[in-house]
């Protein structure tokens, strides 16, 4: 049944691309579609990471702030030590992100504060720290080393590395969420926390792991974001957390936990990318973008709501899991 929804949604995205293609054939040129995917790569990765958190009945509002802080820090590291190889920088980015995510997770797991409150707080804190770390200025392209900027743009088999990163991340999530013990635990912890506890799953620890995943991916994307625009400052990815969550919601990830597929989250993100790229192509003012995303989110959840109702509703939400 979930596969069915993903297939339908995939068809819808395909039709959307086709319709735009009919109006403006240049839109569906392979080169443009590759560019579109490349453009959406960061959103795809973040949507998958966010889905992991949402599966466990939590939410991570701090991802965009994480991107800003990590992006500023690794750009400064690169500006100060241009000789450090880029893979090491990427590891550093993921590591900083992991720390930031782990802080969120620890607050949720060990202290027991609801995730929305924790990440609402860290959203301000991380972005504030990004300002402090950058000293209120921007680290711009000519301060970064050429290798630092160019790596995500280098092509392999006709695809930029940025897209390959997204493809690798999609593959990891597809395998890990389906085939590993931790992957299944994410679903169990959110789908029915009480049952998960009786099965021997530590719900709090699972949520902690989910936040670590989200933080790591966000940190890595912090590096990508800095290279994409060759600039790192406090305003990086401002408000992007909502696009990420919206991608999940459109992709059929249930905000009450336990429901969501890799295909759904990826398609949700791509849908966003298509809308964003298609509007100017069909001569609709980009100022329509926000209203269209909002309308799409509402339409998607209203269509979804019929399905979830039939599946039976949980009444005792968090009875024994705390």
């Amino acid at each position: 049944m979930r596969l069915n929804r993903d297939a339908l949604f995939g068809a819808l995205v395909f039709v959307l691309i086709a319709v735009v293609g009919v109006i403006r054939p240049s839109f569906v040129w392979p080169q443009n579609l590759v560019g579109l995917f490349n453009d959406t790569a960061v959103l795809v990765m973040l949507a998958l990471a966010q889905m992991t958190v949402i599966l466990t009945k939590c939410i991570d509002l701090s991802v965009a702030a994480n991107i800003a802080l990590t992006g500023v820090l690794v750009s400064e590291a690169n500006a100060a030590f241009p000789g450090v190889p880029v893979p090491l920088i990427m590891l550093l980015a993921a590591g900083i992100g992991l720390l930031l995510g782990a802080f969120n997770g620890a607050m949720v797991w060990l202290v027991g504060i609801p995730s929305i409150v924790v990440t609402l707080g860290t959203l301000s804190i991380y972005r504030g720290l990004a300002f402090v770390a950058s000293g209120g200025t921007s680290i711009v392209g000519h301060q970064m080393s050429p290798a630092f900027i160019s790596l995500p743009r280098e092509e392999l088999l006709g695809l930029p590395m940025m897209s390959w990163f997204a493809i690798v991340v999609i593959a990891i999530f597809a395998v890990a969420l389906r085939g590993t013990r931790t992957g299944r635990a994410f679903y169990a912890a959110g789908g029915n926390p009480t049952a998960a506890v009786y099965t021997g799953i530590d719900v709090g620890r699972t949520q902690f792991v989910a936040f670590c995943v989200s933080g790591t991916v966000a940190g890595f994307c912090g590096y990508l974001w800095a290279t994409r625009f060759s600039i790192a400052n406090v305003d990086m990815a401002n408000g992007f957390e909502l696009d990420v969550i919206a991608s999940c919601v459109i992709g059929g990830v249930s905000i009450s936990g336990g429901i969501g597929t890799v295909a759904g989250a990826v398609l949700g993100a791509i849908f966003f990318g298509v809308v964003r790229n298609a509007l100017p192509v069909v001569y609709i003012s980009p100022f329509w973008q926000l209203a269209v995303s909002g309308g799409a989110i509402l339409a998607a959840v209203i269509i979804n709501s019929g399905r979830e109702k039939r599946a039976g509703r949980l009444i005792l939400k968090e009875a024994a899991a705390s």
Partner: protein
């Protein structure tokens, strides 16, 4: 998972008979007093009626929304679209003002748009049974999106004379219209929440919506009304803000929703619903206002202030929990 026995249930909004010093509001008030005293010693400009009066503008527009949001959160819902409602309502007022409407018509327009937007949220939540956080993330984009569609990169800044009173006028001496309205609304919301059956029903819904339904509470109708109320207060805030800054851009009030939610949670309202008081929210408004004002006196940039606001939000919730855990371990 810890296997402790659940704490005995208390009704958190009633004045406790014992241990009043452990009440959230008292702790928060102590924090406010400490900030106040520290600021008055640290800066010679702090203890000045006019400066303090200026400082109240930091929260007088957000606090009315926070009062309504407190109702919503106590009832187990949330509205993240409030800042976007401000933008939409301000855009409507700007359009009306450009068409030549007077101050009275503008106020009615602003508030009516707020109510309509809130009603839309309430309708989607109660009719389609969509979690409010998802609904309002959607309408957050939609409402501000409409504002972008209407305005694009333009600005409305032609507001009629007389309209400036709501955001810039003073009732007497240093008491601004906004501050007096804040006090009046605080009393009204406190009375409704703590002294009426409607208020009790809000708590009942937050604690157990199913039990509330079976007790004859019309859960969905009250939820709908609460979303409308939050829309109404966002409309009011929009009138105040638009009147104060006398211009409307689609980016108006960006990020307000986070500050409003922070204010409510800082005020001791349980984000999971079921408990909280208006007094707490009022004190939280003062704490945030005093903090912002104090930082401003020391030239701390707004973005750095947000580190402290965020840390305050997590800290005030984490410290009692962590403290309690340590105390229990120590005793055992």
């Amino acid at each position: 998972m810890n296997a402790e026995a659940p704490a005995p249930r208390v009704i958190p909004d009633r004045i406790a008979t014992g241990g009043w010093w452990r009440r959230w509001e008292v702790i928060l008030l102590a924090v406010a007093v400490v900030i106040f005293i520290y600021n008055s010693f640290a800066s010679p400009y702090f203890l000045n009626a006019y400066n303090l009066s200026d400082a109240t503008f930091n929260f007088t527009e957000k606090a009315p929304i926070a009062f309504a949001m407190a109702f919503l959160i106590i009832a187990g819902e949330i509205d993240l679209s409030v800042a976007s409602i401000i933008a939409l309502s301000s855009t409507a007022m700007g359009a009306a003002a450009t068409a030549g409407a007077g101050p009275a018509v503008l106020v009615v327009t602003g508030i009516a748009v707020g109510i309509a937007a809130g009603a839309f949220n309430g309708f989607v939540v109660t009719y389609f049974r969509i979690p409010s956080i998802v609904t309002t993330i959607g309408t957050m984009s939609l409402f501000r999106g409409i504002s972008y569609v209407v305005l694009g990169d333009q600005v409305y800044r032609k507001y009629p004379p007389g309209f400036d009173y709501f955001g810039q006028g003073y009732v007497f001496w240093v008491f601004s219209f906004e501050f007096v309205l804040f006090l009046v609304l605080a009393v009204v919301f406190a009375v409704v929440l703590h002294l009426t059956t409607f208020g009790r029903r809000v708590y009942a819904i937050g604690n157990n919506p199913v039990a509330a339904q079976f007790s004859g509470v019309r859960v969905d109708r009250i939820r709908f009304l609460l979303f409308m109320l939050t829309g109404l207060m966002s409309g009011v805030a929009s009138v105040l803000l638009t009147s104060r800054i006398a211009s409307t851009r689609p980016t108006i009030a960006t990020g307000f929703e986070l500050e409003v939610v922070t204010m409510v949670v800082l005020g001791g309202v349980n984000i999971l619903g079921g408990s909280g008081t208006i007094v707490g929210v009022v004190i939280a408004a003062f704490v945030m206002g005093l903090l912002t004002f104090g930082f401003g006196l020391f030239n701390v940039p707004g973005i750095v202030q947000s580190i402290f606001i965020g840390a305050l939000l997590i800290g005030v919730i984490a410290l009692p929990i962590v403290g309690g855990k340590i105390a229990r371990r120590w005793r055992a």
